[in-house]
Symmetry: C2
Subunit: 234 residues, 2 copies
Amino acid sequence: MIKGKLILIPTVIGENTEKQNIPPIIFNTIKKTNIFIVENIRSARRFIKKIYPAKDIEQTMFYAYGKHDSIDYEQDLLLHILAGEDVGLISEAGTPSVADPGSKIVEYAHNFNIIVTPLVGPSSILLALMASGMNGQNFAFNGYLAIESKERINKIKQLEKLAHTQKQTQIFMETPYRNNQLLEVILKTCRPQSRLCIASNITTEKESILTKTISEWKTIKININKQPSIFLLY
Amino acid sequence: MIKGKLILIPTVIGENTEKQNIPPIIFNTIKKTNIFIVENIRSARRFIKKIYPAKDIEQTMFYAYGKHDSIDYEQDLLLHILAGEDVGLISEAGTPSVADPGSKIVEYAHNFNIIVTPLVGPSSILLALMASGMNGQNFAFNGYLAIESKERINKIKQLEKLAHTQKQTQIFMETPYRNNQLLEVILKTCRPQSRLCIASNITTEKESILTKTISEWKTIKININKQPSIFLLY
């Protein structure tokens, strides 16, 4: 019997952008796959229904690996794979196992010699980097910064230093409702000539991607409260 | 008059994968856009013809920014934008301005307040990271490593140390005909328990993405000579 594969299926990062941004391979995979490990069952079902409305959701199995869930790797993944069935991995938004906890599942797959197939799709981190005009030959993604004020300031200073000394673009993010506070701290902490890119609402009609020096940003009024954003420093 | 935009248009990373991996937004953009700044005119024309065979290539303008070319930012980009025309940026393979020199053009666009729009498409770096099972919440892309032997060994040691101490996945690449030599050096240099992912021929039928410890890799015969590959260390 041929073993199944673990297929990493990106979803959209902006509402109602499926038609434009999802490549055919995702449609074909969703059509054929009946077992999914997902970060959030509700949003995964909604995505699948949008991509392929004829999908029989009642015949589809979902296992959740979100913050408050845990999957049984053997039962929910390995046994399906050994039975010859493909399993799809879907995160809350964008590409699974980048800036999300899905990589543990992929790690398990490698340990059991399961073939892992990543599909092309939207990644806010990659799109922000492309559009930032900053160094794309050397860059680092740092996830979420610390919340505690002093620790956060130190981290920003450290990232700014790395950007300058290593010529390495520094990418990070924040929970959207704290975006304005993070921006304020960056403007207070960084040198006037450092460059900051703020990439908000990527792939949507409200998309805004601007790269300016810290001293330029200080003269601009911008409200990114609750706007999903990626920050890049160089 | 409404200004044009600079649109970042990814291409495929494997031959004949257009139909599966290119999202509709790229088809629509190629159809509408008549001015392109491209890393390589020949491969860009071929890509455009594959995506939209009816395209009138004679009515399409191409400016090359490859290794042996240089564009005139004002004439080739700014004047078209000011005349209300969109300009597409296309790199040799994958996403423009990631692991390629296109970011200088994007930087110029930001300096002249030109709107930059990145489109979703294939990136070997991102796909390799997704499928590696390594930390996707903290990672760095380091481009090509030095060629000189001692410098290269030191760099690999430094990346291994960063991976361990910072829990940061380290991503790098090599010119495909030197892949086997690079692998040999990694196996000699790194600690037995470090994990290495080799992601080759991503999105093609020959795709192979394997994550193993250094000591496991030492027991395996693998030939990645001339196979486009991404290396990840953790």
